[in-house]
């Protein structure tokens, strides 16, 4: 990390001090796939589900520490919170009601074995919440400012790639913000910038001149970028080892091997067929005459 002037306001320190980690994240193949909306649909949904966990952790922690002097000026869940919009988008992309997407195979398999990158992220939030909740500011900075900037580009591409309708905004609410101080949707770069300016001013007001806190926040912000990098690395799927894609609208996992029931039913079918052939007198000469009779019957039908 280059020498940082800790006399600057925290918003500038974080901006300058995270350039490197920011660029590393931005250059990663996972980020490229996300920005270009090149992920298969189910992989995109899985990513939204991981974000749902992460925002859940961050936003619940912020809620518990809403009165913290450092966090208070930027505490604005109505403007910023993303957890519930992620849930709505997951529901829309999967075409499954919001109350039941957590039963979808994509989610159950994610929940059964959460990727280490996801666990690392959420545990970090839990850890700082008990050690120093002020550091949560670094995490809201890393996520929300990203959503307000690059997120807007992703929105447009995502809409095009997955056939989502930007007009109705169905499935795209994660990328949608309200104008600052209003209930009107923010649509322009200018609207987004006003929110960012407001957020930065709130950070500066909350942190003040506390140099030690600034240093810790810078460290934490870089950690936040690393955690995000880890998350993005997780979504890159190796083409060669790619599992068969789970059909998104039929929540049945594809079978890679023959299941016991399938093999068992073949054996049963053979046994049953044999039993019927023998008992029904379809074997030997008797059977042959019946076959001939059947052939004639079929021929008479067709002629």
């Amino acid at each position: 990390m280059a020498a940082v002037d800790f006399n600057l306001p925290i918003s500038e320190i974080l901006h300058k001090g995270t350039v490197k980690s920011h660029d590393e994240v931005a250059k990663s193949p996972g980020a490229a796939a996300l920005v270009n909306a090149a992920l298969p649909r189910e992989e995109y949904v899985r990513f939204l589900m991981m974000l749902w966990h992460i925002y859940g952790a961050i936003e619940e922690a912020l809620e518990r520490h809403a009165a913290n002097v450092v966090l208070q000026p930027t505490y604005n869940p109505i403007l910023l919170a993303r957890k519930s919009s992620l849930s709505a988008d997951i529901s829309a992309v999967l075409q499954v009601p919001e109350s039941s997407w957590q039963a979808h195979p994509i989610y159950t398999s994610l929940a059964a074995s959460p990727p280490p990158a996801l666990t690392a992220y959420t545990s970090r939030i839990t850890a700082i919440e008990s050690s120093d909740p002020s550091l949560l500011l670094a995490h809201s900075y890393a996520r929300y400012l990203g959503d307000l900037s690059g997120g807007q580009v992703i929105k447009h591409r995502t809409a095009k790639a997955y056939g989502l309708d930007e007009q109705s905004n169905i499935g795209l609410s994660f990328y949608t913000f309200r104008q600052l101080g209003s209930s009107v949707p923010a649509t322009s770069q200018g609207d987004m910038k006003k929110i960012k300016v407001w957020f930065k001013a709130g950070m500066d007001a909350g942190v003040g001149d506390d140099a030690k806190l600034k240093e810790a926040l810078l460290r934490e912000a870089n950690t936040a970028f690393e955690l995000n990098a880890g998350l993005l690395n997780d979504i890159v799927i190796d083409e060669k080892e790619q599992d068969p894609v789970v059909p998104i609208l039929q929540p049945v996992p594809a079978q890679k091997t023959y299941s016991v029931t399938a093999v068992f039913s073949v054996i049963t079918a053979i046994c049953l067929a044999h039993f019927l052939l023998v008992v029904g007198g379809f074997t030997g000469a008797k059977g042959y005459s019946k076959l001939l009779a059947a052939e004639q019957w079929v021929a008479s039908l067709l002629s």
Binding site: S99, H156, T187, P247
Partner: protein, 732 residues
């Protein structure tokens, strides 16, 4: 099994093989099935040739304009499409609208002389091009980049630039300016001025201000005249001889809705919610109605939160559907199946699903109940049945004042204007006999009348008390139009609320009363309009149960999670709707807390104040019987302040409104906001009420901060808004 013959073995083997094939069909034939991986948006391939060659595409499609857009979030793309539409409607010129990423620029110099190129370029971040325009910019700026002429020259190329940017950024519109400079340097000729739009506030006005001058220059440079393009249709409408009836859209909004595919209910697939309760809320209904409707959402998968909106999908009333069908000469053919195709899908998409029928389009898909627009009247004049009617419409389209008096103030819908122009009787029940048929091509109706939109209502219940039911509180919109020399005053009915009123009557088996008798009103006496409430294929009626098609729209109008924060709600009239939901939400929480922590559980809760207003406590007091019960359950934490504007007056006789009660309670209000970090919510009329309440808040806060309303007060209001502690759900 000694007797088993060869045929036995054969039969058995075939049986086994078939069984095995059947069982393992998924694995065996898996390769043949398409993989469900998203396909990258296919580049429109037209036959053979290089798909990245825009010149070839222009020639093939006989297009004289090519419009490139540098767009990151879609805004520049929208303006590119608008320019293409205008070029078509003004001059009849077709355009190729291009994402520059999908084309090569080596042959930009080969653009034929009678053609022009448009650049609609956004500037991003710190003066950078949008991602899709990076290569285009490199090609234009790099002097070593050679066009097909072997030079970095574009002599005589005609071009137009509209540039989008944001004034709060340092490099305002840099990319558009760069394109302009570099093209001029290469010998290209700009048509008109360079347009610059400021996305911070005035993009639309900037565009409107720029484009007329540009089109003037354009028509001179291209040698084209305005008015050449008026007749180029957007759509082709065909009547289909035979079509499977189950595949015809009769009001369904999507394929999902038509085929009843399992999926979620949203704005494209509303849920027909059975009406479980429908009742009148006003104590006195002689001149107004307000309906309370409970919509059952059980097993729909629909969930909602307090403060959300419910979208109700009305249809147009019977009388207006019939009127326009007659005026368009389509009454006999109303149920014919029609297909509609876009003649240029890049510019205009068919706005509703097809195939459908004429009557369905007018009833369910387009907004024929709105006041007729001035623009469309001019376009329709050439189809008039006689010269007088033609002159009448032309007059309306050119004379703003006449349009305003006759049409806007007279609240005339398109069908009525056509009848009026042709000299038909507006007050008669419309029929082919009393209505002159115009020969207006149906594609013009499709492209010039906007889509019928859902009507949104603030939900008046809380899911914590009513998990499977959404409550709607709607005042029924009905007013008299202003009479003029051609048309008498008539009753005008809001589409959405009267649709709900119809449903209420039907659900309760009531008959609609006459609106008013002649003696009481200047307007002709009439009944409220009827609707086809049974819905497409009877989908909205099940025996005696009626259903309303709905979907939920999320809002950010929410209570703070922590009940310790004080809450101030201002909602006169139906503005109280969301606050009934808010109060129910807190009641549910109170019940749980008391159950868990005993009767003192609410001791540290913040105060909840509701400022409500109506005419009289005996006339239009909404949910009058419910409030005392909520107050009891909230153990004194909930106070209600009511302004009855026609019952309680000031000593000087003037009326008392909600903002006056707010001012009276200023000490408590200021304390709740400043010391209690409280939340304020305003719901209702945007124009007068909401503005007056905000001014009163500024006065209260200014005084509490020891300053003025204009300085300290307004600053405080702004701060509250930015922190989402002052929220509005208002309508005009």
């Amino acid at each position: 099994m000694a007797s088993s013959s060869s045929s036995d073995v054969l039969v058995l083997a075939v049986g086994v093989a078939l069984a095995a094939i059947y069982l393992f069909r998924d694995q065996l034939f898996a390769q043949a099935k398409p993989k469900s991986v998203p396909v990258p948006t296919s580049k429109a391939s037209n036959g053979s040739g290089n798909p990245r060659d825009f010149i070839a595409k222009m020639k093939e499609g006989k297009k004289r304009l090519v419009i490139f857009y540098g767009s990151q979030t879609g805004t520049a793309e929208e303006y590119a499409i608008r320019l293409a539409k205008e070029a078509k409607s003004k001059f009849g010129l077709a355009s190729l609208v291009c994402d520059p990423e999908e084309y090569d620029f080596e042959n930009l110099d080969q653009l034929p002389e009678d053609c022009a190129v448009f650049f609609v370029m956004a500037t991003y971040g710190e003066g950078e091009p949008t991602d899709n325009a990076v290569t285009l910019m490199q090609n234009l700026e790099d002097e070593s980049f050679e066009f097909s002429n072997g030079e970095h020259k574009l002599e005589g190329l005609k071009y137009v630039v509209f540039s989008l940017g944001n004034k709060t950024y340092e490099h305002y519109n840099k990319i558009g300016r760069d394109v302009d400079n570099v093209l001029t340097k290469m010998g290209a000729i700009r048509i008109g001025e360079r347009g610059e739009g400021d996305d911070d506030k005035s993009m639309e006005e900037d565009y409107l201000e720029w484009k007329d001058g540009m089109w003037d220059g354009f028509s001179a440079a291209m040698g084209v005249e305005e008015g050449q393009g008026g007749d180029t249709p957007d759509f082709a409408v065909t009547e289909l001889e035979s079509h499977p009836p189950e595949k015809v859209y009769l009001g369904e909004l999507s394929a999902r809705a038509l085929t009843k595919t399992k999926g979620i209910h949203d704005a494209k697939n509303p849920f027909p919610a059975p009406i479980s309760v429908a009742r009148e809320l006003f104590q006195s209904t002689h001149d107004r109605n307000c309906v309370h409707i409970e919509l059952n959402t059980e097993s729909s998968g629909i969930s909602y939160q307090h403060g959300d909106h419910v979208g109700v999908w009305p249809s147009n009333p019977d009388v207006e559907v019939t009127r326009l069908l007659c005026a368009l000469g389509l009454y006999e053919k109303k149920d014919n199946v029609i297909g509609i195709e876009s003649l240029d899908p890049a510019l205009a998409k068919v706005p509703f699903p097809v195939p459908t029928t004429y009557a369905t389009v007018l009833r369910h898909y387009i907004d024929i109940s709105a006041v007729a627009g001035r623009q469309i009247l001019g376009a329709l004049s050439k189809f008039a049945p006689n010269p007088e009617a033609e002159a009448f419409l032309k007059g309306l389209s050119t004379n703003k004042e006449e349009y305003h008096t006759l049409i806007a103030n007279g609240c005339l819908k398109l069908g009525e204007v056509l009848q009026l122009a042709a000299g038909n009787d507006l007050s008669a029940v419309p029929s082919p006999e009393n209505t002159t048929a115009w020969t207006i091509p149906f594609d013009i109706i499709v492209s010039s009348i906007p889509r019928l939109q859902p009507r949104y209502y603030s939900i008046s219940s809380s899911p914590k008390l009513h998990p499977n039911s959404i409550h709607v509180t709607a005042v029924v919109l009905k007013y008299e139009s202003i009479p003029n020399e051609r048309v008498n005053g008539r009753w005008i009915f809001g589409v959405g609320s009267n649709f709900l009123l119809n449903l209420k009557y039907a659900a309760n088996g009531e008959t609609a009363p006459l609106v008013a008798t002649g003696a009481e009103s200047k307007a002709a006496s009439t009944t409220i309009p009827g609707y086809a409430i049974e819905g497409p294929r009877g989908a909205y009626k099940q025996e005696t149960i009626y259903k309303a098609p709905i979907h939920v729209r999320r809002s950010t109008f929410r209570l703070p999670t922590n009940p310790k924060s004080p809450v101030i709600m201002i909602g006169p009239g139906t503005g109280v709707a969301p606050f009934r939901g808010f109060i129910q939400e807190r009641v549910a929480l109170a019940r749980r807390s008391i159950e868990k922590n005993g009767p003192d559980a609410l001791a540290d809760w913040g105060r909840i104040s509701l400022f409500y207003g109506c005419r009289k406590s005996t006339e239009d007091f909404l949910y009058k019987d419910e409030w005392p019960q909520y107050q009891e359950e909230l153990r004194g934490k909930f106070t209600m302040h009511c302004a009855f504007s026609r019952e309680v007056y000031r000593p000087d006789g003037s009326k008392i409104y909600v903002q006056d009660l707010l001012w009276d309670d200023r000490e408590q209000v200021a304390d709740a906001i400043i010391n209690g970090k409280g939340y304020i919510y305003i719901c209702g009329d945007a124009k007068s009420m909401s503005k007056a309440v905000e001014e009163t808040l500024a006065r209260i806060l200014g005084e509490a901060k020891g300053g003025s309303a204009d300085v300290e007060g307004n600053a405080e209001v702004k701060l509250l808004k930015e922190r989402s502690r002052l929220m509005l759900d208002v309508w005009s």
